[in-house]
Every structure is written in structure tokens, then in C-alpha cells.
Amino acid sequence: MHKSIVAIATLTLLAAGCEQGADDEGTKPYASRYAPLSGGTTLLTGATVLTGTGERLENADVLISDGKIQAVGEGLSADGATVVDASGRWVTPGVIDVHSHLGVYASPGTESHFDGNEATAPNTAEVWAEHSVWPHDPGFVTALAGGVTAMQILPGSANLFGGRSVTLKNIPGRNVQEMKFPGAPYGLKMACGENPKRVYGSRGQSPGTRMGNVAGYRTAWIKAAEYKKKMEESAGGQGEAPTRDLQLETLAGVLSGEILIHNHCYRGDEMSVMLDIAKEFGYKITAFHHAVEAYKVADLLAENDTCAAMWADWWGFKMEAYDGIRENAALVELAGACAIIHSDSAVGIQRLNQETAKVMGAAARVGVDIGPETAIQWITSNPAKALGIDADTGTLEAGKMADVVVWSGSPFSVYTRADQVFIDGALAYDRFDESVNPVTDFSLGTAATAGGAQ
């Protein structure tokens, strides 16, 4: 019985995945109006290249034109290309943060900017993070200086269902539409554990316990399944369509595989329960975020093709983070599961490469060798996969968006800086040329414009 449900769900997901690329961006509400900066043909030469596909190439060139990666290899040339001598430097795909609150918890962190948690009910699947994003958050620019070319902005974790996420290109715009990653699927933020039960339990409301959390998820999925069924029936000419409901629309979108689940969940035992809830209702958990105990259930994650998005070393700030270990991501990788280093922080997002390096060093202490060509995937291709944008970005492969970072050295050295960042083939940041770099409205006239926060 259960097996057949899972099989059907999987087929649905696969079908939905195929359709994503065919979506017509223009007909969607709040459609992306992202327009790349203008960029010409650029040839990066002589670099150590981490492709994001698990390969490391020495003395390699990367050819960029029309916003795309054209070729990666030795001895490339192109007429009229701007040649960037990258010898002695490293080139990687743009860094992607699967967990950011830039724009929804913007700097300065005043109460006026607390737009990330609609903590008014345990299920707020109806809210969309993009309707909170402030594009003038100076954190976008500082993240860019750290090589970040795309990111997912999530609602907070006060609720069982926090709302829809949005994936952005890191080119600050006038509004969120000008930053939306074209064609990226939506995510839905769910949260396990301490936060929802504390927020609502303290108000004498459900959930007040972890079992209350689970009852809350299941109740919502039952309603969503019903809504979805009625929608499908009415589309097939049977019965009247139910009144449009934003909350159920998002949940039904998860059940039909169009919306990806990003599940804040620290503890291994809770991840195990969440995976079973997903089986019960026939959806997939794309990634667990803040998966501090992923190392305890890494085999389960591999089995379910669920990514674990982790910090390198945050631990102990709450009970469910008490068992954090530095080698977490390495143990997830070792089990064959999808490991991601995420930030959840306007500070951490500026150096996801450094966070990754800390795990590499810690793993080496116990003989687990994570090479740079593998580690880079934790902040490029693996988050791209979790965001459903891996067909477009996340690796240096011909035909993909030219989201590229030129680093001054190995990205896993503390002394290394992002020298240049390309987004869709255009130079979006250059640490040697302030005239290239963006300054948000907020930062005008501050040290940030004098090279301070750049």
C-alpha cells in the first residue's frame, strides 16, 4: 500500500520536474523581470578550475559569451574576448546559498525590518517571502563580494509552514521581481522542533510540543490533499472548483511536485519522522536545513535523496543544536548524500567558502579526505540541485549561465578573496575596480561606498 503511494508520488515528481523548464515566466504572478547586466565575451586563462561537477582542472581556461559558459578546457581562444589572466588563481561556479534571509531580515536589523516571520499562526503557507524582500539590503552587496551569485530567501522558522521562498540572482534591483531567478521553482519553508512549539505553546496554542508539531503538519496535508483532489476533479469536468485558497494552493503545489520542501530540522530523530510524514502524504523533502544532526541519519538522507544543508560549526545555541560537530557535512558526503553548507546569516553568507574549508580540515583529522573539487559542490552544484536550478547554474559546463567566481587563490584559504564575480557572463563585482561594484541606496554616503563594506 505505502510502496505504491510512494511510487506514484515519485512519478508525479519526475513529471513535474520535466515541466519546470517549460514554464512561461511571463504568465506567472509576480514574474521575474530580471535582466542580466551587459557582458561581452570573456576568456579566463590559466586558472585552477573547480568545475562543480567534481573535477579539478589545472592551467585551464573558461570561455564566457552571451551570458553562458561556452567552454572549459586548455588552450581556448575567442576573437574579441576580454582576456583575464587567471594564472595562479582559482575559478569556480558562483556560490549559491540555499538558506538566506537577506532582504526579509535586512540590515540595519531594526524592528522595522523584521519581515521574515509571519508568526501569527502555525500554518502560514499562504505568505510569500518575495513580498517581504527589501532589495536595498546592503547584505546583498557584501554577499556578492563573497562570490555569491544566487540565493534562496526563506521565511523564518516560527511556524510549521512558514511560507513560500524565493530564489534570487544576486544583482540588486529596484524590486524583488528584478532579482528573481528566471524559471526557479518555489520552495515551501517548514520548521521542526523547538521554534514552532515555543512560539505557539507560549501563547497557550497548539503546537506546544513536538507531537503537536507533527499533528499540525498532518492535519494540513490532509486538507491540502482534499483541495488538490477537488481542483483536479473540477479541471476534469467533475464538480465545482473549491474557492481559491492561497494556503492550500501552496501546499497542493508541494503535493503535485511543483514546490520544493525546505525543512528547518536540527535533530536526526525529527528528520526521520519528517521523512515518514512525506511518505504518508506522497511528497518529497528536498532538503533539511540547519541539519545539525544530519551525520546521525546520513544513510536515511542518501536513501531518500534528501539534501542536508548545514553550518560548518554552529552549535549549542539551543538544545536541538547541542550535538553539532565540525565533521557533519563530511559524514553526510561520506554516506553518499547531498551535502550543502548554508549560512542563515548575513555575515556567514560572505564566506561560505571559508565555512566549507573548516569542515575539510576537521574531516582530515579523522582521515576523511574531502578534496577541493568535492567541497566546492557543497556551495555550488548541490545547493543548485536543492533549488531546482541545476540545469541552469551551479557548475562550469557549456551552456549554463556564466555565474563564475575568480578567486585570488584557493577558495579554501582564509587569505583568499573573490577577485571578480560574473553573473550571467557580466562582471558584477571586481575588488580592484570600485566603479564596477554596486552600492545599495541605503549605503550611499557611508564607509561602504569608500570601499569599506565592499
Binding site: 557584501t142 552549535w315 559524514l331 555575515v347 560572505q350 574549508a357 557611508t446 563594506a453
Partner: protein
């Protein structure tokens, strides 16, 4: 379940640092002494009875010494974290204990954090195996809560501890007095930062009057114990440790310090670079987090990445904290130091900022902070550059003792690395 076995292994872990090695010689390493000897290649460092007794290039290990071959490796002084709640907290949020925070105003200046220190906190081993051998433990500033309890601009007295884990961990009380000015002080003093400054001046005035004639009973606002604690500040023995970021607030502090002839240390200092020369002239050091360059609030509008090198170039003594997690990740001060180097600080100055400089700032450099003959033997053997993110200590010494290089985190790791075990994790030891 074999409880006795578990207890024995825990006891072994806890006692590991108490075993006294008589004489230890570390040979062949490149030693960054941070003292007058500078960097010594192929050095032999001899430790006896918990102190350094010699540091010599190519020196012979004394007969009978336990010799550790550190050829090709690097030895530094133990790391010194200048702020945080090590030993005062286990789990930060909703789980306690949280002994760093004293609410209410019954005791303020005299609140002595030393009495809350737990040398066996699980955070201690986590920190020391990554090279942290000393810490300044600090009371947290008060803040308003639902019950309206505000705390005071004066948060109490900081202490210096070693991370050896034994009952002899408390090294020195009253190394500084925590104070909040600027935006963080305004909420504790009626809403305005001017009120925070006034509260501090008023406390110092009262203490001064009390100090002139302790026998004379006046209607003091502060308790007698607080007035007593402030005498150390007025005499210059106890520096104020002031949380402040905005340049204008720092200027106010510089004036206040001059008016009373007292000493101060700044923590935060986002805009300190704008008044770097004045700070240098006033001899006020700054504890900063080099990665904190976003304007978290309007006091930090002009934070910048080059703060560390700008302050150092102006002659200000600097030390580093981890901006995101001063306590649980106090160990990440090496990352702070490395980032400061990436933005222009010299490697030598960066390493000093996490070893000798904090010892100097808190007045304990006569005992620790560098590898110098006569000083307490805190040292770390690194396989490579200590500021690199992939570099972890191979061995840490605290007062001459080689510490057990394990923590609750490494035990968890080792348990779950046994993926081929047919037993549930709880049965894997």
C-alpha cells in the same frame, strides 16, 4: 548498559589535564614566541613545572624530559579569547544554565562573574582542543525583558580563567568591569545614550565620594558592594570594558576616561577606525570582530573590513572576538585573525591579537600570552599555519600539561563514524 565503564572513561577525560608532566621538551618546530625572541626556527621549547624554562634554536632536550618531535610544525602561545561566557553557559537559548546575565539593579558593578565559572562545562574541552587556553569571561549586559527588568549600564566584573578544566581554573578576578554605552547602553538607562553616559559618570562620582570617606553614610544610589567594586576602577587597577560602536560615543568615552583618570577597553568598535589616532593617544585598546562589517544598526553605519589594520597602524592595541558566537565558537578567533590578514593586517599582528595582545589588554601579560622563559606554559602545536581554516591543533598545553585532545563533539563524531557497526549508536563506545 555499562555505566561504570562510561563513568570511568568520563573521569579519565576530566582528570586528563591534571596530570603533571615534570619536564617536557618540544623540538624541531618553528616557534612564534610573540615575545622578544620573535620567531625561532628549529626550536627546542622546554617546559618545567608548568612554565617555559628555555626556548633555543637547536637546543638539546634535557635528560629525562618527555620529548615531543614537532619538526616541520608550528608552535604558538595558547589562544586567548577576550570576551564571552565560557563556563557560564551550556545551551544558550531556552535550556540554560545562563549564568552570565544578572538582571535587576540590586548589584551591578560588584556582580562578580568568577563565582559562576564551571571549569567542567562541555564547552571548555570543545574550545581547548582547538587551541584556546585562556579566556576572559564576562557578565552579559542587561537588556529589557517582558517583566520590565532592565539590568544596569554597569554589568559587573570579568575574570580570567584557564581552560584546563580543573578546580584551579580561576586565575584572576576583576580583570575588567563591563559597561554598556551607545545604543546598547541607551536601553538600560531610560532610552537615551546620554542617560547611559550619565549613569556611568554618576556611579563613578558616588564611588569617588564613598572612597574619600567610606565611614560617612550618605544616601548612595548604589549598594556598598558596588561602590567598593568601583574603587578599583577609580584607582586604575580595573579597566572599564565598554561595549560601544559609534564614533561619537567613542569620543565621549575618551573624554570620560580622561576626566576620571581611569582606563578603558572597547568591545565592538565598528567605527573606532574613525577615531583611531585619539584612541591610540588615550591608550584605549579595541576588541573587535573583523567580519562584522554590515550596519547591524545605525551605530555601525561605517563599519569596514579594514578596521583591524587601520587601528593597528594607528598604534591601537587590538584583540579579536568571533562576532557571531563569542562563546560556543570562541575557537573561531583564528578565523577572525585570518580575515584581518586578508584585509591588510600583518600575520604577526593577527597572531598577537589572539595571544599576547589580550593578555596585555587585561593586565596578565606578565604571566601568559607569549612563549617566554618564566611564563606559564600555554602552547599549541599546529601542523600548519594556525590561522588557516583547515589547520587544527595536534596538541595543546595548558600550564605545561598536555591536554587530552578530545571533547564531547569528537566522541559523538567517533561514535557515528562507526558506520559498519551492527550495534545501535548507544552501544558503540
Amino acid at each position: 548498559m555499562n555505566f561504570s565503564k562510561v563513568l570511568i572513561s568520563c573521569a579519565a577525560l576530566l582528570l586528563a589535564t591534571s596530570a603533571v608532566a615534570q619536564t617536557t621538551a618540544i623540538t624541531g618546530a618553528t616557534v612564534y614566541t610573540m615575545g622578544p625572541q620573535g620567531t625561532v626556527e628549529n626550536a627546542t621549547v622546554v617546559i618545567e613545572d608548568g612554565r617555559f624554562v628555555s626556548v633555543e634554536a637547536g637546543g638539546a632536550a634535557p635528560d629525562g624530559a618527555e620529548t615531543i618531535d614537532a619538526s616541520g610544525k608550528i608552535v604558538t602561545p595558547g589562544l586567548f579569547t577576550p570576551i564571552g561566557s565560557l563556563g557560564l553557559v551550556e545551551v544558550g537559548f531556552s535550556a540554560g544554565p545562563l549564568d552570565a546575565l544578572q538582571r535587576g539593579e540590586e548589584f551591578t558593578a560588584s556582580f562578580d562573574i568568577a563565582d559562576a565559572y564551571n571549569p567542567r562545562s562541555t564547552l571548555i574541552a570543545v574550545s581547548r582542543i582547538e587551541g584556546v587556553t585562556r579566556a576572559i569571561i564576562t557578565p552579559s549586559p542587561g537588556y529589557p525583558d517582558e517583566s520590565g527588568s532592565y539590568g544596569s549600564v554597569l554589568a559587573g566584573l570579568a575574570a580570567m580563567v584557564n581552560l584546563g578544566g580543573g578546580d584551579d581554573s580561576l586565575e584572576q578576578r576583576a580583570v575588567a568591569m563591563m559597561v554598556s554605552l551607545g545604543q546598547s547602553g541607551s536601553g538600560l538607562a531610560g532610552g537615551s545614550r546620554a542617560g547611559a553616559t550619565l549613569a556611568l559618570r554618576s556611579a563613578l562620582d558616588e564611588a569617588s565620594s564613598y572612597g574619600d570617606d567610606p565611614g560617612e553614610r550618605e544616601d548612595y544610589k548604589l549598594s556598598l558592594s558596588d561602590l567598593g567594586a568601583l574603587q578599583g576602577v577609580l584607582s586604575g587597577d580595573v579597566p572599564l570594558f565598554v561595549s560601544v560602536n559609534r564614533a561619537s560615543d567613542i569620543s565621549v568615552l575618551i573624554d570620560l576616561v580622561a576626566d576620571y583618570g581611569i582606563r578603558a577597553i572597547i568591545v565592538g568598535g565598528s567605527e573606532a577606525w574613525m577615531v583611531a589616532d585619539e584612541l591610540a593617544a588615550a591608550g584605549i585598546p579595541v576588541v573587535l570582530a573583523p567580519q562584522d562589517i554590515l550596519p547591524g544598526n545605525f551605530d555601525r553605519l561605517n563599519a569596514r573590513r579594514e578596521s583591524a589594520v587601520m587601528l593597528a597602524d594607528a598604534g591601537v592595541t587590538i584583540a579579536f572576538a568571533d562576532g557571531q558566537s563569542q562563546t560556543h565558537n570562541a575557537r573561531n578567533i583564528t578565523q577572525s585573525a585570518g580575515n584581518a590578514v586578508a584585509y591588510g593586517l600583518s600575520s604577526d599582528a593577527a597572531l598577537r591579537a589572539i595571544t599576547l595582545a589580550p593578555a596585555q589588554i587585561f593586565g596578565v601579560a606578565d604571566r601568559v600570552g607569549s612563549i617566554e622563559v618564566g611564563k606559564e606554559a600555554d602552547a599549541v602545536i599546529w601542523p600548519a599555519d594556525p590561522l588557516e581554516l583547515t589547520s587544527y591543533p595536534e596538541q595543546v598545553f595548558i600550564k605545561g600539561n598536555a591536554v587530552e585532545m578530545s571533547s564531547r563533539q569528537t566522541l559523538l563524531r567517533d561514535r557515528y563514524l562507526q558506520t559498519d557497526s551492527d550495534k545501535p549508536p548507544a552501544y558503540r563506545k
